[in-house]
């Protein structure tokens, strides 16, 4: 892990709705994630975790403050630039996997490469290779419906990695999996996804995987209330 910052959020504010229906999801969040770091965002439901990773991933605009990913602030990018930046630099892993059900495992993994302009066949070949590396060699041509939850999450991880992004955001990657499978998925994420120039931000409720984190940021009511270096340091 280097000391350089992958993500730097300063006084980030995000509000949903207007007037009486106004809800302040982020109330001036400060957060730093270093290159090569696995940062976990934890906290009760509705505390703003998902909003924060949406802002970090550039799929949600914040209202105030600054949020830089590798020194680039999404607020200062045009819509097209933002989409391009996301396509090249961000990988996503979702709670419900969000694989395209009509595509095979390899085709799903190939999607980010195709979005970035690679020819389909070349992208699918590279996807098949990567699936081999995450232990899914024999499932390359399987549809998502033919895969178990753990296998689908492996495919989703491969999809998040295939285009070699610099930041991977994961939303509850283990919540739909049993303890053993969740553990394996986290081991896989930590082994293949982390690198010196890449950072991982994981939103989770699952305390069983806190041990995989380099640092844990605890959120409550739109604030980061604590950043701990291990689960043991966390206030209860």
């Amino acid at each position: 892990m280097s000391g350089e910052l992958a993500v730097s959020c300063t006084k980030v504010v995000k509000t949903y709705g207007t007037d009486d229906a106004k809800v302040m999801a982020l109330r001036g969040v400060d957060l730093e994630v270093r290159k090569g770091e696995l940062m976990m965002l934890v906290g009760p439901s509705g505390c703003g975790k998902t909003t924060l990773i949406s802002v970090i991933a550039g799929i949600l605009d914040h209202d105030e403050g600054s949020c830089k990913v590798y020194e680039r602030d999404f607020q200062h990018m045009s819509g097209r630039e933002k989409v391009r930046y996301r396509a090249e630099n961000i990988g996503f892993v979702f709670q419900a996997y969000n694989l395209l059900p009509a595509l095979t495992a390899a085709e799903n993994v190939a999607v980010p490469l195709i979005i970035n302009g690679m020819r389909r066949q070349e992208a699918v070949d590279r996807a098949a290779d990567l699936l081999g590396k995450v232990g899914m060699k024999d499932k390359v041509n399987s549809l998502p419906v033919q895969l178990s939850g753990g296998q689908q999450q492996r495919v989703a991880i491969a999809r998040a990695l295939i285009h070699n992004p610099r930041l991977i955001v994961c939303d509850e990657p283990t919540s739909a999996l049993d303890h053993e499978t969740g553990h394996k998925v986290m081991e896989l994420l930590k082994s293949v996804a982390l690198g010196d120039n890449r950072a991982l931000v994981i939103v989770t409720h699952d305390s069983r995987i806190f041990g995989f984190a380099d640092r844990i940021a605890k959120m409550d009511d739109g604030h980061i209330v604590q950043v701990a270096n291990s689960p043991d340091e966390m206030e209860h």
């Binding site: 998902t50 990773i53 949406s54 991933a57 799929i59 949600l60 097209r80 989409v83 391009r84 996301r86 396509a87 090249e88 961000i90 996503f92 979702f94 709670q95 419900a96 969000n98 395209l100 059900p101 009509a102 595509l103 085709e107 999607v111 980010p112 195709i114 979005i115 970035n116 389909r120 939303d171 509850e172």
Partner: protein, 384 residues
């Protein structure tokens, strides 16, 4: 991404089939109903279609369509023959006369009287006998549809036997002997067609001072037909039309004074609306069901432009398939009824029109879906 779009489209088979079926139905209705309409309209002037020789038809100026007979004096024929640019002009009698059948019933027939010398205006295809046989005493030629249908004899055992050469008819209490059976294009009124000579036809017809229905005119080679029709009108006071003009006049009458266009137009518009509703709704539902997938693609960096093209491709794909199936089904319908009394004509213009209509439905279906996807927040992907 287009491959992904097509796989997304065909991945949900029930929805995919639903959209295709909706468009097939719309395409079928929007092709089949107008084809019947065009077939019916073509029948209004089919008698003219069968008469290919004359270039110009001259008649009483008050005639509104081919079956609207307003007889003129025989002497008008000689006046027309005297007009510059006329190669030849022949008389034609056309009238509805009652034929008495063997069982005592009466059947109205469309009696055509041809010029005695040249027999110009005769049936296009002779199935039995020869056109020249009309020169025999009391001779008539009957069309096959009439001979086998309304003029057929009923045997004591109830079996119907088609009229054949050698059989006799009574036309207005006068004997007529069938000397031939012809095939003619079915007319709008579907009456049996009986051909005979002009002289004999006016004997069959009730006594009137004027009996000449039309004057068939052949222009001299190289003659400008619209100019000739104008000249005939100026010199004789008769109405004169080229064949195409008279077909148009006849068709216009049916379009203006009958409910046929409204009836068929209603069916076509209903087909369009129902097709648009089914296809639009199903396609919109399909997009809603796939909204999260579009959100995932959007989050991963797919531009709105690419998503728009993906949805258009999906809509145009189902449109093309639905159009092909619908037009194919309409053509098959036309093929199956080719020997029946039903009218059906499928010109290329109709295929283009229904294609345009199906494309409009697809664009409509795509637009309502595109709007939803364009406004989609990619952050939806993080909602459980």
């Amino acid at each position: 991404m287009y491959y992904t779009a097509l796989k997304m489209l065909m991945g949900d088979k029930s929805k995919y089939l639903g959209i295709v079926m909706g468009l097939t139905f719309a395409s079928f209705i929007m092709t089949q109903q107008p084809a019947i309409f065009v077939g019916l309209m073509a029948r209004t002037f089919s008698f003219m279609t069968d008469l290919s020789q004359p270039d110009v038809w001259a008649m009483d100026p008050k005639v509104q369509y081919i079956d609207d007979i307003k007889p003129i004096q025989d002497t008008e024929l000689y006046r027309v023959r005297g007009v510059e640019g006329v190669d030849w002009a022949m008389p034609l009698y056309k009238g509805l006369l009652k034929a008495r059948l063997e069982n005592g019933n009466f059947q109205t027939c469309n009696v055509i009287g041809l010029d005695d010398a040249t027999l110009i205006g005769g049936p296009p295809i002779m199935l039995e006998g020869k056109l020249e046989d009309l020169r025999k005493s009391d001779a008539v030629i009957v069309d096959i549809e009439g001979a086998a249908g309304k003029l057929a004899r009923t045997l004591p055992n109830g079996k119907r036997v088609a009229l054949k050469t050698g059989d006799t008819l009574e036309l207005n209490d006068k004997r007529a002997i069938v000397v031939g059976i012809a095939r003619t294009t079915r007319t709008f009124q579907s009456q049996p067609v009986v051909y005979t000579t002009y002289t004999r036809a006016i004997k069959y017809a009730p006594r009137e001072r004027k009996l000449l229905s039309f004057i068939l005119v052949k222009a001299k080679p190289g003659e400008d037909l619209p100019a000739l029709t104008k000249r005939i009108t100026e010199r004789t006071g008769l109405a004169a039309y080229t064949r195409e003009q008279f077909q148009q006049v006849t068709m216009n009458y049916y379009l203006k004074y009958t409910g046929i266009p409204i009836n068929f137009g209603t069916a076509v518009i209903l087909g369009f609306i129902i097709g648009a509703a089914i296809a639009g709704q199903t396609f919109y539902n399909f997009t809603l069901d796939n909204l999260k997938q579009f959100g995932v693609l959007k989050a991963m960096g797919t531009t709105n432009g690419t998503l728009l093209k993906m949805i258009l491709l999906q809509a145009l794909t189902v449109g093309s398939i639905g159009y092909g199936l619908g037009v194919g089904a309409a053509s098959f319908f036309g093929y199956m009824i080719r020997d029946s009394v039903l009218a059906f004509m499928l010109p290329w213009q109709l295929l283009v029109l229904s294609g345009v209509a199906v494309t409009l439905i697809c664009i409509f279906a795509a637009l309502i879906s595109i709007r939803k996807v364009m406004k989609l927040e990619p952050a939806i992907v993080f909602k459980g």
